[in-house]
Amino acid sequence: MNAAPPKPVKSGKSKSVYGPGPGEQIDERHTLSVLVDNEPGVLARVIGLFSGRGYNIESLTVAEVSRSKNQSRMTIVTTGTPSVIEQIKHQLERLVPIHKVTDLSVEGPFVERELALIKVKGTGDKRIEALRTADFFRARVVDSTAESFVFEITGSADKLHAFIDLMKPLGLVNISRTGSVAISRGAEQV
């Protein structure tokens, strides 16, 4: 980690044991890449940590990445004050089946992608417009009937949001999103 966390902002309010906690730091969004043993209960440990300590999860994805080492990678997008983010990382590192926690938002540039499947229902002009918009966004049609499409789109969360907003007036029916997966840029193995 190269950035030292800032000193907590001093709050004028009383911070009694049972009173409100420090509330004047600004929340940040961080993407964490977590290498874990692929064993039963590891996801429950991570989720339990977040819920038990009151941390936020914006999205969480997990799948096996190495069969020989029996390891999975989780990508967790979380928000919190810098001191909360630091705690999250340390608390994750404390779990026995966790090998490595990398804060991609701090370690350097990284690529973050999300995949969404989006079902749109419509006929006539709306159907044509949906198809044209999908083309601009490089969304692929993965299922089609006479009155519906299922689009597959990958990109940043912003791009997905923009596409979904445009689909709303064109007959959006259902959305299914994966949440972010991310990896650092460059040749290094992080």
Binding site: P5, K7, P8, K10, S11, G12, S14, K15, S16, V17, Y18, G19, P22, D37, E39, P40, G41, A44, R45, G48, G52, S68, K69, N70, Q71, S83, E86, Q87, H90, Q91, E93, R94, L95, V96, P97, I98, H99
Partner: protein, 605 residues
């Protein structure tokens, strides 16, 4: 003793099945074999359907002694007391379902106080898991947030490996409780034993060696400080007796003042002039004021708990803070520190001491004298002062007399003294009035604050230290929470002494209600209490009672000579409050002393 990983680290977790010529054993026999190899000689437990195969294997051997407690919570606290007083890992054996859920309080207690515990729970057979079988509970699910780690073993080949790994996880790094859930069919299944040396453990490898550069910087800060204070905690105790010795040597070399948390008492001798007493909510005035006014704070193995810091925005506002901790998540959790050092407290103190000697640092005499003059003014406040009475026993007086008799006993009998406590006013008074000169002599429930901890912990302590004198300083409310363990003490001829400061109230609750809740004493008075003397006798122990100041000395003297479990019912002043006190939401410089209590504006809080 540095806690290091002794087993080889291997990548991945595919544990190969060891094909050896050794004979097949049942899973239950493997459990016993692994415990024996781990050096376990005493375990605390309670049998039941799902652990019967292990109890059967226990029956057939002589290396491990099993202590039958009367409740699984008692077994867990007994294991904690055993672990805390001996430095070894405590072992618990309980059955599935209610056995496991009853142990949960003890596990949580061990987690918060970083006590190494391995808890083996029985489980319904693997083919019944998830079927709401008889005495089934999702033990790994329930204990996940209250253990350092837990395992559900579904293959007999894994049992030995898991047990060896569990001891490493429990005992190294920041110690804590580990649960191993063993389904009954796995206990019956045959497999071969895997020795400790051949066990494959996966990723767990805590950092124990502190960074040399940071140590150098820390020592330089300490040497240059004008108003430094050492603030130590349970981490120093966990690092072993050698760490306490090095701490004493280092602190004496600097000549600086030292305070400690509730959990850290005994790491530095209380008989030293440099000792300020405990800090925090019921700490001494001099300790808290020194924390508030210091310019360099050296925190070793403590975690800035809210009972220590009070209002964090008013916590030691002008100091440079050095924090040594083996757990990186303790750094900057509650208080932002300037110089974090990750590592074992013992290794860090040793490195600091070496560095101090190497650089031939000398404490600035003039500055130190000025600082001590300051501290001595705070000491002169005499914050533990209380009004004595010529008939009614004040709880503080009872502890002062206990202390005097213990000093006499030490000279006469040369035996080691161990104090355990329950939770509440009596616990704080014990921390204030009883001095500890050695580590591992003080067993108390700090983080979780578990009423009912003291008696079973005393039993565990006595099991680990058969020649020691073990006293549970108790309250009449707390002791009733695990009173059934009297029966255990009688069964194993454990002469623990239970020194009850009986005021008929849940004293600390009553105190808060008086000071902070408009004197509305909601449910804090116990209308009917047992006759503790008869109760002791009913269990087969000895009961003594002191009702007036005149009777007290005689009763304590008698207590120290008994050879069976003894309850001493000390009838103390009912409405005594524990001072000094930092009300929650206040800073270290806003303590209320006994003398101010009358003036304390109860509407403010």
């Amino acid at each position: 003793m540095p806690r290091t990983n002794t087993l080889p680290k291997v990548k991945g977790k595919n544990i190969p099945k060891i094909a050896s010529a050794s004979k097949k054993m049942s899973g239950a026999e493997i459990v016993i074999e692994a415990l024996v190899e781990q050096g376990v000689d005493t375990i605390f437990g309670y049998p039941g359907g799902a652990v019967l195969p292990i109890y059967d294997a226990l029956f057939k051997q002589k290396k491990i002694k099993h202590v039958l407690c009367r409740h699984e919570q008692g077994a867990a606290h007994a294991a904690e007391g055993y672990a805390r007083s001996t430095g070894k890992t405590g072992v618990i054996l309980v059955t599935s379902g209610p056995g496991a859920t009853n142990a949960v309080t003890g596990l949580t207690d061990a987690l918060l106080d970083s006590i190494p515990i391995v808890c083996i729970t029985g489980q319904v057979p693997t083919f019944l898991i998830g079927n709401d079988a008889f005495q089934e509970a999702d033990t790994t699910g329930i204990t996940r947030p209250c253990t350092k780690h837990n395992y559900l073993v579904k293959d007999a080949d894994q049992i030995a490996n898991v047990i060896h790994e569990a001891f490493i996880v429990a005992g190294t790094g920041r110690p804590g409780p580990v649960v191993i859930d063993l389904p009954k069919d796995i206990q019956f299944a045959e497999s071969t034993y895997v020795s400790k040396a051949k066990a494959k453990i996966h990723t767990y490898k805590p950092q124990t060696k502190p960074d040399a550069g940071t140590i150098e910087k820390a020592v330089k800060m300490i040497a240059g400080a004008k108003r430094p204070v050492f603030y130590t905690g349970g981490g120093v105790i966990n690092a072993g007796p050698a760490a306490s010795k090095k701490l004493t040597e280092f602190v004496k070399a600097t000549g600086h003042p030292i305070t400690s948390t509730l959990m850290g008492l005994g790491a530095f001798p209380a008989s030293s002039d440099q000792w300020l007493g405990m800090l925090g909510m019921h700490g001494t005035y001099e300790a808290n004021m020194a924390m508030y006014e210091c310019d360099v704070m050296v925190c070793i193995g403590a975690r800035f708990d809210d009972r220590v810091t009070g209002d964090t925005s008013k916590f030691s506002p002008n100091s440079y803070k050095i924090h040594i901790d083996i757990d990186p998540s303790s750094i900057n959790k509650n208080i932002h520190v300037d110089l974090p050092i990750i590592g074992d407290a013992g290794l860090a103190i040793e490195a600091m001491l070496k560095n101090w000697k190497k650089n031939k640092y000398k404490t600035d005499k003039a500055a130190s004298q000025k600082w001590w003059d300051h501290i001595n003014k705070w000491r002169a406040v005499d914050c533990l002062k209380y009004e004595k009475h010529d008939k009614i026993i004040k709880p503080q007086y009872a502890l002062e007399r206990l202390r005097a008799h213990l000093e006499k006993d030490q000279k006469k009998n040369k035996r080691e003294h161990f104090i355990t406590t329950e939770v509440g006013q009596h616990q704080m008074w014990a921390a204030q009035f009883l001095p500890f000169d050695k580590p591992n002599r003080w067993m108390t429930s700090g983080g979780l604050g578990t009423m009912g901890y003291g008696l079973p912990a005393a039993i565990g302590t006595q099991m680990g230290n058969p020649d020691g004198l073990v006293i549970d300083v108790a309250g009449e409310a707390s002791i009733l929470m695990n009173i059934q363990e009297m029966s255990t003490a009688v069964q194993y001829n454990l002469p623990v002494k239970i020194f009850i400061l009986n005021n008929h109230w849940m004293g600390m609750v009553r105190q808060w209600q008086e000071l902070l809740h408009g004197e509305r004493y909601s449910q804090s008075y116990t209308e009917s209490l047992p006759d503790f003397v008869k109760l002791a006798e009913a269990y087969g122990g000895i009961g003594l009672r002191a009702e007036t100041v005149d009777e007290l000395d005689n009763v304590i003297e008698q207590m120290l000579t008994t050879e069976r479990v003894t309850i001493v019912d000390v009838c103390v002043a009912q409405e005594e409050n524990c001072f000094p006190m930092i009300p929650s939401g206040k800073g270290h410089n806003e303590m209320i002393l006994a003398a101010d209590a009358e003036k304390f504006d109860k509407k403010l809080v």
